[in-house]
Subunit: 339 residues, 2 copies
């Protein structure tokens, strides 16, 4: 694959300098962007939360001996959407955080914040969805807590799940290296698109667009058995673009993605085009990226690009027209409340 | 101490039959009472959540080998109150759940649900409070998640903390037995009263009434070293009355409490009297009950009563006037959103 031009390197070099710094949190108020998974979220986490607690990152599964521990809050609206619901998401999302940390999910705890007036049938449906998703993922719900807030002070329910997992000895993650391949576990952008359509804000409808929410542990279990996996990351908030940016920044490498290789279902691609949204930034709940050593073959995964040396910290996309563009980090807030 | 009269036993026997059954969840909608820690909460947990997940109780710390895992959601309003704040509460509440399970707190995860428009200074103050409380409690914050919901869809912030602890070998809990003593770790009702006054809904003010939020592990650590502790339970939502009822019901014993022995600070007692609230039902954040074997002496604890045989599942209070009354489970919702 062709390298970046000198001009591009200069231009990108300036951006790269800014990127090298730890994000600062200077905003006066919390905005929706702080929850969208992009730059604002990073400034909140890196600039305020992580330093206050003396940790590098707040989002990844923490390692405690042979155990992994991770927490996720779910505030999705609407509660039910084609292909899933908040309850299912709350199980799979946390199970997947563990899987991405190379840990086999063992147990979950559940915190429910319920809105006064919530229909018991709605609650019952989510409790069933949670129980079913937990069974499918092979994980036990071992405890929890329930609180009720006054009418209007929540959207039906908010759920936080915490997952405890057993670290898999085959998971020996290392920084991505130039030459490594970038694999994707499946077609992207289905979840976020399904949620946006389910909200009914757009005059658009499709039976074919359903959330991809699922447990990723079986796929992780399989790929860990095949060889040297350097990195795993699920592409939730902020989509594939945000995850690639995180990985490039964390490991000081460049990522070159072949746009035409990235799988997007035709119905999803069509909806994104009509909505004017790049599928690379749309959230997924059943897709992950694996950075693997050169020559690695993994059935069922799609090779979408290569790790490069320059420009460090950047993600570039080689378009079908032979050009190259920067796939930048998400700044604003195009897709709130999708997980 | 005198036993219950035959008449009382007959009357109570009827109630006891109803108590023996597992609570059913039949309400059409969620009400504030489902979050208040009394009968409605029990019906939700025992009638819906616990059976769906195949567990006996949802609230206690779960045991996984030598580890304990527990989750708590915090939705307190206002966020700051005399003696503490939601951030401090979120650390101590979960640390205390672990302590009550006989586990030394090791690590916490943190889930923040923030309201759009929340002042960064407010968030910063709570992040500092969390960090400080964690340091004081000797526990690390190892990970977390942050979500933002639209303006008006939360009260500033909701916090869920999950705690991982190491089980203490000295904690070998057993059912309470007739003859056991009931110990209390300190004066009751300060937290709930402080919150109620901080809301400003009552024309009442007192500098002396401050929340008792604190880590209970040091006190638990001390009492576990003294001898046979059968049960530990912190008296949060629903207060001492609710905890006593839970213990009596779970272990099939009666509890006879000497009303005059229960410590309540004069300012708190005065405020409760003016508000028409029984301090026994008011939430605490730094008080626990220990059921211990007869003859057990624990400096700093107050002996408030004795475990009895009859009537099983009931809590009776011997009043200062020589009478006896039933201290029933909380039914309604006198004290919402206090933890």
């Amino acid at each position: 694959m062709s390298s970046v031009s000198e001009r591009e390197q200069r231009v990108l070099g300036i951006i790269e300098t800014a990127r090298g710094k730890r994000a600062k949190f200077r905003d006066e108020r919390i905005t929706m962007a702080h929850g969208a998974g992009g730059k604002a979220t990073r400034s909140l986490v890196e600039g305020l939360l992580a330093p206050a607690f003396g940790i590098k990152s707040l989002d990844d599964a923490a390692t405690i001996g042979e155990l992994a521990l991770t927490t996720d809050a779910f505030v999705v609206k609407p509660l039910r959407f084609p292909g899933g619901s908040i309850g299912e998401l709350a199980v799979n999302g946390t199970v997947n955080d563990l899987a991405m940390g190379g840990a086999k999910p063992l147990a979950l705890t559940l915190s429910l914040i319920l809105e006064e007036g919530l229909g018991s049938d709605v609650l019952r449906a989510e409790v069933d969805a949670i129980a079913r998703a937990a069974t499918q993922a092979g994980v036990r719900i071992v405890g929890g807590d329930t609180k009720v807030v006054e009418r209007g002070h929540a959207d039906g329910m908010y759920i936080t799940t915490t997952g405890l997992g057993q670290r898999d000895q085959r998971a020996q993650f290392q920084p991505a290296r130039p030459g490594d391949r970038i694999l994707l576990s499946g077609p992207i952008a289905a979840h976020g698109t399904a949620i946006m359509l389910a909200r009914g804000e757009f005059d658009l409808d499709s039976d074919e667009i359903v959330s991809d929410t699922r447990s990723l542990w079986p796929a992780v279990d399989a790929i860990l058995g095949l060889g040297a996996v350097r990195r795993l990351r699920d592409a939730t908030r902020g989509g594939v673009a945000s995850v690639l940016n995180e990985l490039a920044r964390d490991d000081g490498v460049a990522m070159l993605i072949q746009e035409s290789a990235v799988p997007v279902a035709p119905a999803v691609a069509g909806a994104c085009e009509l909505l004017g949204i790049d599928p690379m930034y749309v959230a997924n709940e059943g897709v992950f990226l694996a950075i693997v050593e050169p020559g690695f073959v993994a059935p069922g995964f799609v090779d979408i690009g290569e790790v490069k040396t320059d420009p460090p910290g950047m993600v570039l996309v080689a378009t079908s027209f032979g050009g190259k563009r920067v796939l930048d980090e998400l700044v604003g807030d195009p897709l709130p409340r999708i997980c």
